[in-house]
Symmetry: C4
């Protein structure tokens, strides 16, 4: 049972951090998107590091495509994958609503930020491909710092700012702020994320699995 609480709390804190730091950055900066994305990046990196470190002993996917790949690897059942996804999405939405509330915005205000175009779609495939490859090849000891570092880089080197997480894409549509996404664009983001995750899994299977001296579990 505490696995579900861990997935709910972890994903909740994570997207509270992603959206809240974006709001704080916007409220403080004087029209400088670069500085806002920088503080958004640092808050997300810090959040990923402490959340994975702390909840790893229970469960620390915080991401339906991560749970999906562990289901394909046979480490969790299909039912666990679905239950995890439910708690992850619930957590992400709750975290975003809490962020809106703390910063005196309407608890729910759907985003009007359009994130569209073929290059954004490819960027999101690439971002999720990288995230899953990194997770599949990380040692358990380093996964917190490695995943945090990956996202810290990928916020800047992909044009979609690396959502790489369907629960995050859904949750971020609930806030019309810096880190938001128009609800109309969420479905394509999720599609891109599953494609990227599958590509990483296949590459891992055919090229790296078995030879690695480290283990993802």
């Amino acid at each position: 049972m505490n696995k579900f609480v861990a997935e709910f709390l972890g994903t909740g804190f994570l997207f509270c951090a992603v959206v809240g730091s974006g709001i704080m950055g916007e409220q403080l900066s004087t029209a400088n998107d670069s500085l806002t994305l920088l503080v958004n990046t640092l808050a997300t990196v810090f959040a990923l590091y402490f959340l994975i470190s702390v909840f790893q002993a229970f469960s620390a996917h915080f991401n339906p495509v991560v749970s999906f790949i562990f289901y394909l690897k046979g480490e969790i059942t299909g039912k666990t994958f679905l239950t995890f996804s439910f708690f992850q999405i619930l957590g992400a939405i709750t975290g975003v609503i809490l962020a809106n509330y703390m910063f005196e915005l309407d608890p729910v205000c759907f985003s009007q930020k359009e994130r569209e175009g073929t290059n954004i779609f490819v960027s999101e495939i690439f971002a999720t491909f990288g995230l899953l490859l990194v997770i599949l090849l990380s040692s358990k000891d380093r996964v917190a710092s490695v995943v945090a570092a990956y996202i810290g880089g990928a916020y800047w080197f992909t044009s979609s700012t690396s959502f790489a997480n369907p629960a995050g894409a859904i949750g971020r549509s609930f806030s019309n702020t810096f880190a938001g996404i128009n609800p109309d664009d969420v479905a394509l983001f999720c599609l891109a994320q599953f494609i990227g995750a599958l590509l990483a899994y296949f590459l891992y299977r055919f090229c790296f699995a078995g030879n690695s001296i480290t283990s993802s579990e």
Copy 2:
């Protein structure tokens, strides 16, 4: 005895860092609060990391609500909790006065920065809830980096900028600068912090204690 010195020195350095870096940021920046909060964050993250790493072998709570929860867990006596709190508050005030002095301000100048409102109160409950949950679930080996990362994120994803420490709230009222807080607002901050800490402790007790493969002590 060196436990008390450690709590005094550690809390002193910590709030000298919090307040001093805010002053430095204000004196250098050209009216950009975002950049000032960023350097304030980094200085605090660095300070927490080196202070916990260095004083952990003696005692490294630096925070009355942390000592209170370890008292509830039965790891320290009520008298130790009170003595620790005394040295923590004394340390925080001393550190803030030293910061004021180093930057050529009046050693004591009470803050006029209002930090009020229901959403700030809820934010402070949430911030302290997160901090204590993270401390209770951290392995001893990682607690320095995990706590530093938590505060580094929470400065940005909570609207109260995560004081999460009654000694800090009291100390920060002694400086009318970036990181200050109006003395009138300190009591409600402390109340919110104890509520948040108790919520974390109850969640830990009912959900995570016993199952964790890591230990908070």
Copy 3:
């Protein structure tokens, strides 16, 4: 075989990160090169950390002069050095083209950014000397964080911004953006890099090899 895939993927991700974060920084910043170099630095540091951590179990040179020095040390054959170099250069070019594409630029647009002068040449010798010395003296356990930290510093303390990598110099000539380099200047950069690497290797051989309690392999 997976060694070659690791070198290709790692170098590809690395220079996608270097170039992509430069483009993102330029597109977001309002004419502030300092902030752009800062985000460029952080993205590169994060990328080096996760890439070396993850691919270290296979192969993680990502740099022909690094492979060359390991060839001189007798750890890889001349043929492996040449094959690694091929995949590293191919990876760097692919990563840069992908970055251009994701940010809606022409996939290939050669850089017009001149990087010339004796002091730049000396800077690049010094930068590569430092990188190789650091790699030769690092323990395997710390090489990811040490190399990331080295480059994070060297981006700022050398006037050439520490390319220190022939594959990177070639790849970065394919993007007319912040991190680019005019193709005419690539050859001298590569020469400087080999000189710096050899100086580090000779210093290591005559002064530190044998006495080190750590091992580079």
Copy 4:
């Protein structure tokens, strides 16, 4: 013998990083001292981390007051302390001259930046007190990250920006740039540094030595 090379190279790289990143920050920023001190901080943190990690197996004081305290502790002889100090000062000056050269400044241009006043003097005592306390209490395994974090914080929470190093104070007088110091102010800085170091050593001796489960050596 490689101990002396390590002290020379390490101190050289360190103050090349301190001064060079200050020059780069000044050349890029548009009159924003806060951003320049931020990049100066990050470059110094990265440099301390990789230099201590890499040269620790040989010798990694890079600072005459650090060597002096280890002499008082009986870990090195008086002659070694003097030889180390010589190589540290030579390294710092060489590193600063190299930084000046790489950025196309006159190799030697003495600083006109005044750093005076009682509060600056007290700040420098406090800064060095903290640095030495941290070094004396660090485990060997963590000393690189702990010292880097200490300086990263102290650059911001002391009004003297924590020189905390006589070799550094001398070296930094050779560059009339951001990180420089007027040669006339160097002697008082060195005095403050020895006072701070002695205070830390006495506190360590009377309060923490013997009880620590960690060891500074």
